[in-house]
Symmetry: C2
Subunit: 334 residues, 2 copies
């Protein structure tokens, strides 16, 4: 591998994304991408007694699914990189406590999915791993309870709020394969522009996305038009518009090929999801379900996947803190 | 690098631990290792209004300290790997939001410090980074409030409980140096033996430590006597005894060269810390303050550092769950 520019790593033998799997909850199952997901649940509890246990079950079953689909024995998966939004990442650690694979817990809020692929790519390209598993999850009910209000209160949601995706995305990366390949990674810095509204995550995270996006272009010498699609994780309608405008002020026109998973996963008009989807599973399920298939079918051949995260919690907001954002990017190419 | 056995990676060009720094709180400043720490605070708040903000300040100032001591410009540090115990790791993300270094947030509970060094080592040895920063923190007051009871309640603590270390440990790893070197890593699996007592973390984490310890010996062909010291992070008095006994039943005698940072950092008789210290900063400060100096002065030349983590939160305990443990190991040699 080679370091390029200030914060990009390019791979000489790029890891292949061998297989993906996605499970989504009931609301996502009624959205425009439903047909692309491996499993659509009709119950937020999935037979469990609590939302937290349901979320653990979702990531567990999704990891079992991606391993089964990949045809690789779980004993041949060298490392697992996983994390989620729950306090102390309990969805991942409880959901994956039985998989018996060396485990790196990570926390990047909603950037976790791409963060895990950044780390796994470096392990694979360097020979530290032959196969690696990346997984994440989120759950609307457990997230609302933890970050905002108990659902039972029935609080109104402001128009700038986003809807945490219930689901899990998981991928298996391998050292030898026929693609799609992770050709380079641009891990991001923490960016805090002083936004304090926990109901406007898109605005809080857009500056971090801009920073990573521009750094990626500068480091690689690529332009937006190099990619068939530039895809952010969960900026939603508001954050997407902010990023598009900010990029233009910096001389990068992304209007023609920029999509956001939070915009894609729900039907804004009919699903009452305000500014769109969010959560670790937003980019996790939309990439694992939709974009991976587009790449395999060569409908897309070069994409830049940027996951953004808001690195706050309810205590920090109560203590008057602003919301630091982060964004990690990976280029995936056939 | 080479994969050895089932879950160990050995390095052909092992990264050097260039520099360390440690800051500790008032109680640790009265303990037996006080003279080894870079800075001893006399106030848990350190001039901040909340414990969370104090913890962020501690990791921030400690990172500034290790960068200053290393002589490396922060612009030459390619990646930062950091995490902590607070919900959504806000100590790290708020404390480090201004350092302007690409950031990987990680969560391994009290195993975070060694997890960060595992990841950074792979980045450095593979050429993905020339220099990397690893940092962690914990704070007695913020941890008690979050995991157990508000301190204002004055709850009694059972004899098996441990005392979360207030402080931060930080290291800078570099690709070219004269050691001490990280020669190999053995990342651990999640191990859950069904322990449910959140006031007996040592018992919950000892089986994970055993799993990683034995795997490390099997993978490398080394015996306990290969090391001048085998050091766990925060098993405390109870967990240390359990690990020693469990290792013996598996044919490994670690009685002569095994220490635990949670046992070392406090004076059990005079500091009322029951089963010893715990928290991310326990191994973080004891390694950064004490063991790194022992290595530099060649008083120790080969150590195995094993950090253990309990991957639970207060919600999981309230929902009747057991406590999954994890342990990551790195060998450090002159």
């Amino acid at each position: 591998m080679k370091r390029v520019g200030t914060q990009t790593i390019t791979f000489d033998n790029p890891p292949t994304i061998l297989e993906t799997s996605s499970i989504v909850g009931p609301k996502e199952s009624q959205g425009p991408l439903a047909k692309y997901f491996d499993q659509c649940l009709d119950d937020e509890f999935w037979g469990e007694k609590t939302w937290e246990k349901a979320e653990s079950k979702i990531i567990k079953e999704n990891v079992n699914s991606v391993i089964a689909k990949s045809g690789i024995a779980s004993t041949d998966i060298d490392f697992c990189f996983a994390g989620d939004l729950l306090n102390q990442c309990i969805s991942s650690s409880f959901g994956l406590r039985e998989i018996n694979i060396p485990f790196f817990g990570i926390f990047g809020a909603c950037s976790t999915f791409v963060e895990s692929m950044c780390l796994a790519s470096v392990f694979i390209e360097s020979g530290g791993a032959s196969n690696a598993l990346c997984a994440t999850s989120s759950h609307f009910c457990s997230a609302e309870k933890q970050f905002r209000f108990p659902l039972e209160l029935g609080n109104q949601r402001p128009p700038s709020s986003q809807w945490t995706v219930t689901g899990s995305g998981a991928v298996i990366l391998t050292f030898s394969g026929t693609g799609p390949y992770i050709t380079c990674i641009t891990p991001g810095k923490i960016v805090d522009m002083g936004i304090k509204d926990a109901n406007n995550m898109g605005a809080a995270m857009a500056p971090a996305a801009l920073d990573t996006l521009i750094t990626h272009f500068r480091d690689t010498g690529r332009k937006p038009s190099y990619y068939d699609a530039i895809i952010t994780g969960d900026l939603g309608y508001i954050g997407k518009e902010i990023l598009t405008e900010l990029a233009e002020t910096k001389g990068y026109n992304i209007k023609n090929n920029y999509e956001d998973c939070g915009v894609l996963i729900f039907d804004k008009e009919n699903q009452d999801t305000h500014s769109g989807g969010s959560g670790c599973a937003c980019i996790g399920t939309v990439f694992s379900g939709y974009y991976f298939k587009q790449l395999k079918e060569k409908k897309l051949n070069k994409i830049l996947l940027i996951a953004t995260g808001a690195l706050m919690n309810s205590t920090s907001s109560q203590q008057g803190e602003s919301i630091p954002g982060i964004a990690h990017a990976i280029a995936i190419e056939n």
